[in-house]
């Protein structure tokens, strides 16, 4: 790889002190370090040997963990299109995948380009290195938007999220909210008609949908059960499955062959990602398990109360529909915006699960509670940590006075 090194060595003088592009050094550095782990050595006092892990490898692990969701999302985008237009039998698996990829890939590219551009600008202005944090955010954003989203909205939301969700606080490591969810929340409140309802989840590409098809998500059918009486959610889903092309059986919802945001429909793919995050220790098992536990407990409790039909829905439906699993595995576990203490993580995760289900079953206007639950607990995470750490301080104080 010497020739690659030579290229960098040739270009480098332009970016270092006195060079033509001196102020763009962070950009050069970000690209160089993508190819080479630099020759930095440990300082002369302290730990002279260092762990092989670094921020890039850690973030890369998360990105790889999302690949199953991304690939499935591409296929599902194409598959849903053919289902809706009634050409499912005529299309091939590869054809479905390629069609979906044609819609999803531009979203990924726009998200990364817009976000990294902002990161570079801030790195140049602030004279610090470009942080790897956006590698994850840039992949998360395409996975949590509908496939029909106009690309300019992706760009606007990404820029909004990186600037106001992260950089104003000082960059990666200092943000309070999860940047990807900030983008999602921005889109939801700024362009609600493009982000909710029955039309945004499947790309029809101008073709006419078949009879009996509705682009509604499983959550939307659930939400119908909040306001209207006698609309048993499970019966309703069965009826829709029978009359239209989309199957809403628990198995299909688990596999993810239903309409929804690009990467969140398949609980199976999310679990594959979760397995990778847990096996590598990059994602917090405390947060993941406690989110699912909180959701299950609250689902059961609501089922017990049963004040509306959405509450009557079997509790495990909550865990496989909408963005619950995706949020639990990839969003709630963001180490910066989550609670930092081990005990705090358990409380934080549990409360996310509880809030997500609570928002879903009590609020017909807003079926997806996961995004709100995570953002809400992001805000409360420092408070949770505060009390956990206070307990430690009290223990220490008590020991001193005994």
């Amino acid at each position: 790889m010497k020739f690659v090194k030579d290229i960098f060595d040739n270009v480098k003088p332009n970016f270092t002190n006195g060079g033509k592009f001196e102020k763009y050094y962070p950009v050069y550095e970000a690209i160089e370090t993508l190819f080479f782990v630099p020759d930095h050595t440990a300082p002369s006092k302290g730990a002279h040997i260092r762990d092989a892990n670094d921020m890039k490898r850690m973030m890369n692990t998360v990105v790889i963990a999302m690949i199953p969701c991304l690939l499935f999302g591409m296929w599902n985008a194409g598959y849903q299109h053919y289902l809706a237009t009634g050409n499912e039998d005529a299309s091939t698996f590869i054809g479905q995948f390629l069609l979906g990829a044609q819609w999803v890939l531009p979203i990924v590219i726009v998200s990364y380009s817009a976000g990294l551009a902002v990161e570079y600008v801030f790195a140049i202005v602030r004279k610090h290195a470009v942080n790897e944090g956006f590698l994850v955010s840039g992949m998360l954003i395409p996975l949590i938007v509908p496939v029909t989203i106009p690309l300019w909205m992706v760009a606007v939301a990404t820029i909004f999220a990186v600037v106001l969700g992260k950089e104003v606080f000082g960059g990666t490591g200092f943000n309070i909210l999860n940047p990807a969810l900030t983008a999602r929340a921005f889109l939801f409140f700024a362009y609600p008609t493009d982000m909710s309802g029955d039309v945004c989840w499947v790309e029809l590409a101008g073709e006419k949908a078949v009879d009996g098809w509705s682009g509604a998500t499983a959550l939307a059918y659930g939400a119908q059960g909040v306001g209207e009486t006698g609309m048993n959610v499970v019966d309703n889903l069965t009826k829709v499955s029978a009359s239209g092309p989309i199957d809403f059986s628990p198995m299909s919802m688990f596999m993810g062959t239903i309409p929804g945001s690009v990467g969140e429909t398949s609980t199976l793919m999310v679990l594959i990602g979760a397995f990778l995050l847990l096996a590598t220790g990059v994602g917090s098992w405390r947060i993941m398990t406690s989110v699912f536990a909180g959701g299950a407990v609250m689902g059961l409790l609501m089922q017990g109360i049963g004040a509306n039909e959405f509450m009557n829905m079997p509790f495990f439906y909550h865990l496989i529909i909408g963005g619950f699993a995706f949020g639990a595995v990839f969003m709630a576990t963001d180490p910066v915006s989550a609670a930092h203490t081990n005990m705090g993580k358990i409380i934080y995760g549990f409360l996310i699960g509880i809030m997500a289900v609570l928002i879903r079953v009590l609020n017909p206007a807003y079926p997806e509670g996961m995004m709100m639950a995570i953002l809400l607990m992001n805000v409360f995470a420092p408070l949770i940590d505060y009390y956990v750490v206070s307990a430690n301080k009290k223990r220490r104080l008590k020991r001193a006075t005994v």
């Binding site: 790889m1 690659v4 090194k5 370090t33 190819f35 080479f36 782990v37 630099p38 020759d39 930095h40 050595t41 440990a42 300082p43 002369s44 006092k45 302290g46 730990a47 002279h48 040997i49 260092r50 762990d51 092989a52 892990n53 670094d54 921020m55 890039k56 490898r57 850690m58 890369n60 692990t61 790889i64 290195a129 942080n131 790897e132 944090g133 000082g170 990666t172 490591g173 200092f174 096996a279 590598t280 220790g281 990059v282 917090s284 180490p335 910066v336 989550a338 930092h340 203490t341 081990n342 993580k345 940590d385 750490v389 430690n392 301080k393 223990r395 220490r396 104080l397 020991r399 001193a400």
Partner: protein, 454 residues
């Protein structure tokens, strides 16, 4: 009451180049140096020698104006050849060209029986004059103790779990009597107990067994189980206002030797270890020795880093530098000043990691010996990962909260979060595993100094 304590958190770093347990034959160094920077708290050293002066082993080289009873002595006899100063005329090194044979300044000599009868005041005075007082370290702050203090207890860690560490049992095998006398002196200095902490993995060396009137505590588990700070935390944690003292086993033997032999003779057995050392083994040297003769024809390669101390806490010295006062290892490893193509993404079995992020295979083979270099293996970043430091710091302390309190210079918060209980060496593993590559030990020392000088 003896205690059995099981340390669960931590990480053993298994490195190549462990010192073979025999003492090599190395020519005595020509030069020796005493470095005031080895003693963190010495802020205003007063030199007692000038270039050209002849000194005996045991003559005063300098003392700290703020703690003038504690003397720092010449390890060998010879001629002062150089006084090295750094920025702002800070005193860095006093170099002595050693005589072929040392002549010693005489201190009062006692028999083993007489040692028990020495009064506390006399013992302290002898130790301060006799150059062995700096072996007594106080907690909080981990600096040389003040002779006026009366510690709650004295702790001796008789095990070193750091990578490539010198085995204190082996190094002190001929110092049984010195060690005993040292313990007998230390017992006079505290109203509380003298604790000797041993590790269950190692065979207990005779030198640590036959000491009357001490409490022997048994620790098990990975590094940092051998760190005295971790041990104190589990035996009787330090609270605000407490003062306890710690002494290394070598320091105890040095104290005993001063009383039994009536001379300052900082001869010690050190380990010469590390992946770049051709024949890693032990050596008998005096504190402050130039390392040239120890490394001559003993290195596998040229691009190396010589470290006085171990790889986690030591200090880089040049190839003809000098061994630090407190260090019992001379470690040499590869300098990692080379960029690595796709080093952050390619799978690797050659590099050690506490983590298991994608491509890091070392967790599959925990018994393997690694030959690590000094590369940072990443770039400096803000703190992002959470929950990792906790896994290698076996204390009831929130490490990242403490670090952030220090960075914010929040005195009350530092105190409340337990800064009195820690020393930088306890955070060495945090520094090793940190994916953000921060200088954690430096931050901890900065916090300690803020409070100490506060």
């Amino acid at each position: 009451m003896s205690k059995q304590i099981k340390i669960k958190k931590g990480f053993d770093i298994n490195l190549k180049g462990k010192a073979e347990k025999n003492i090599g034959d190395f020519a005595r160094a020509e030069y020796f140096a005493i470095k005031p920077s080895d003693f963190i708290h010495v802020s205003r050293p007063k030199l007692e020698v000038a270039v050209g002066d002849k000194v005996q082993a045991g003559d005063v080289v300098f003392f700290d104006k703020l703690q003038d009873s504690v003397k720092y002595l010449a390890p060998v006899s010879g001629e002062v050849t150089d006084i090295v100063r750094g920025a702002k005329r800070r005193l860095l090194e006093v170099k002595i060209k050693a005589d072929a044979e040392d002549s010693y300044k005489e201190f009062k000599k006692y028999t083993a029986q007489e040692v028990g009868g020495i009064s506390k005041e006399d013992a302290i005075k002898e130790m301060c004059d006799g150059g062995v007082w700096p072996h007594i370290i106080q907690r909080p702050y981990a600096v040389v103790a003040s002779p006026e203090d009366s510690p709650k207890a004295i702790y001796i860690s008789a095990c070193d779990t750091a990578p490539l560490a010198c085995d204190p049992g082996f190094a002190l095998k001929d110092d049984v009597e010195n060690f005993k006398a040292g313990i007998s002196i230390l017992k006079k200095l505290t109203s509380g107990k003298v604790h000797i902490n041993i590790h269950t993995d190692a065979e207990v060396a005779p030198v640590f067994e036959q000491n009357a009137g001490v409490q022997v505590n048994k620790f098990s588990g990975p590094h940092p189980a051998g760190n005295v700070g971790i041990q104190i935390h589990h035996i009787d944690p330090i609270n605000k206002g407490d003062v306890v003292w710690t002494v290394s086993p070598f320091g105890v033997a040095q104290i005993g030797k001063l009383f039994l032999e009536g001379k300052y003779d900082p001869t010690k057995i050190i380990a010469i270890a590390g992946g770049s050392v051709a024949k890693p083994k032990y050596a008998k040297v005096k504190a402050g020795t130039q390392v040239t003769n120890l490394l001559a024809n003993n290195l596998n390669e040229d691009n190396v880093r010589v470290i006085s101390g171990n790889v986690l806490t030591g200090e880089r010295i040049s190839n003809d530098g000098y061994l630090g006062f407190y260090n019992n290892e001379l470690t040499v490893i590869k300098e990692g000043n080379e960029a690595e193509f796709f080093g952050w993404v390619l799978p690797t079995t050659k590099k050690l990691s506490f983590h298991r992020a994608l491509g890091l295979m070392s967790f599959l083979n925990p018994k393997k010996e690694y030959d690590l270099n000094t590369n940072l293996k990443g770039e400096l970043r803000a703190f992002v990962q959470t929950g990792a430091f906790e896994k290698v710091l076996p204390m009831d302390i929130y490490p990242s909260h403490l670090l952030k309190a220090i960075l914010a210079k929040d005195y009350e918060e530092m105190e409340a979060l337990g800064i009195y209980e820690v020393a930088e060496e306890d955070f060495a593993l945090c520094e090793f595993i940190d994916v953000s590559k921060n200088e954690i030990q430096d931050i901890i020392r900065e916090g300690i100094e803020l409070l100490r000088q506060g």
